[in-house]
């Protein structure tokens, strides 16, 4: 695939991703704003793939590897911290959600 054809293809999926990103969360209740923000925060940790590629692909010098590895460290913190924080937030809700089934049982 020629370079410009690839670029057009990439821009196409970018535009579709924008539409999907807007659509998929459009009905989120206020209650879930913070966990959703935290969840999307974890998902952009996908930069870890970019960091791995930069740090791990050949044809480069020490500086590239070192900068890439620092990026790996930062992105890993983003990924793990993001998912764990989100899970902790949602754990709180789960106890009585849906409320009617769990109401008054006293179980945790």
């Amino acid at each position: 695939m020629s370079h410009s054809l690839l670029l057009v293809f990439e821009v196409t999926i970018l535009v579709l991703a924008v539409a999907l990103g807007f659509e998929v969360i459009s009905k989120v209740p206020t209650l879930l704003h913070t966990p959703l923000m935290s969840g999307t925060n974890a998902i952009h940790g996908i930069v870890i793939v970019g960091a791995m590629l930069v740090a791990g692909l050949g044809h480069k010098d020490t500086l590239t590897t070192v900068v890439g590895l620092v990026a790996v460290v930062l992105a890993s913190a983003n990924v793990v911290g993001g998912f764990v924080v989100t899970d902790r937030m949602l754990e709180m809700f789960k106890r009585r959600d849906p409320p009617r089934e769990d109401d008054g049982s006293g179980r945790n």
Partner: protein
Amino acid sequence: MGRVATDLAYLATIVAFIFALKFLSHPSTARRGNWIGAVGMLIAIGITFAQKQIDSVWEILLGMAIGGAFGAVAARKVKMTAMPQMVALFNGVGGGAAALISLAEFHNLAPDPGRLHGDISVSIILSALIGSVSFAGSMVAFAKLQELIQGRPIVYAGQQVVNALLLGAILAAGIAIVAGAERQWLIVALIGGALLFGVLFVLPIGGADMPVVISLLNAFTGLAAAATGFELENNVLIVSGMLVGASGTLLTLLMGRAMNRSLANVLFGAFGQIVAGPAAAADTNGGAVRSASADDVAVMLAYAQKVVVVPGYGMAVAQAQHDVRQLADLLEARGVEVSYAIHPVAGRMPGHMNVLLAEANVPYPQLKEMRDANPEFPRTDVALVIGANDVVNPDARSNAGSPIYGMPILNVDESQTVVVLKRSMNPGFAGIDNPLFLNPKTVMLFGDAKDSVAKLIAGVKAL
């Protein structure tokens, strides 16, 4: 692993992320959604390792262990009240990673003439710029929420001009690079300038607006990740980054709407200009404020028919949610009807109060959203405002000159009596006066929210 198999696995990751977002938008599936996202992430990481060109595998694993351990420990240790700044911190490091990827790619490609296509250098500059702004801005947001630096807006003369000039200089450096000046110092200068811009951009924004800012910076990091996807010609980065960029932008707008303020108003708005010194505000209010003892308030609560608790950030910082629930239980045992009115932006983030009260095992049906809570106030004997300020400020209804004019508020002043638990007469995070405290119906109970609530518990028990 061949390119086709790799891209198919990345497609699985993309599908997982889409379902993760979908599930995260519904209360009953949200937790599962988060797990689906984590599984998608694992697939992407695993398949990237399986590419045969990858070397330095051990170094990468070590880097992951260090970053992952920090993330896991920080995320597990943090108190529920400090969640917002944790989100800011993890968002910042993600943005920093995107900026570093651009720096490395530029360093890698620039020395060979002709390898840096125009679109690649545009992507490198965008992710370096946006990632750096997100990193520095998130760190300032973290510092403000952690109270390492003061939460109120930091303003100086000519601020907007300085910011505009700085942004202009950064863009000029970017354009020079795209135009062919592929010098390393230019990209380093661009990143340095963008870091400075990130700091200057967030400093003048008040702490009360940090949720919106963090959400915006979260969307920024998504965009930076998408830009690194263009650099590395990698679909999973483009799509996942853009999903976050788009949904994060929408979420930011939804949060702004909950506060009835435009994004421009949050970012460049009046809040910075109207701040009066806390001392001055206290002086003007001083005379007319009625303060009460904990025992007085305990009597009021114990003999009320209906009490509505209005929690705010003061409850969160004092970690008072468990005591509040204990107080509510005591009152209910005496036959008082207790509910909680939750303003959508109470605390530091939408949903912040719900999380805290859920942690304290407050029964879910007692939590009332604003539109359900407001009609109840005229029938309420005591509205117990615990560390909330701006979300109950009647100026938002009636004073067109107030910076929060038009923001929907909880109409606590419609109840028989309002009890405000507050540390001092200092204005709230937005730094503006609150006439509610001067209302003849209002009594103030000064002190740390946890101490005050503990005294109320003791007071009710003693009756």
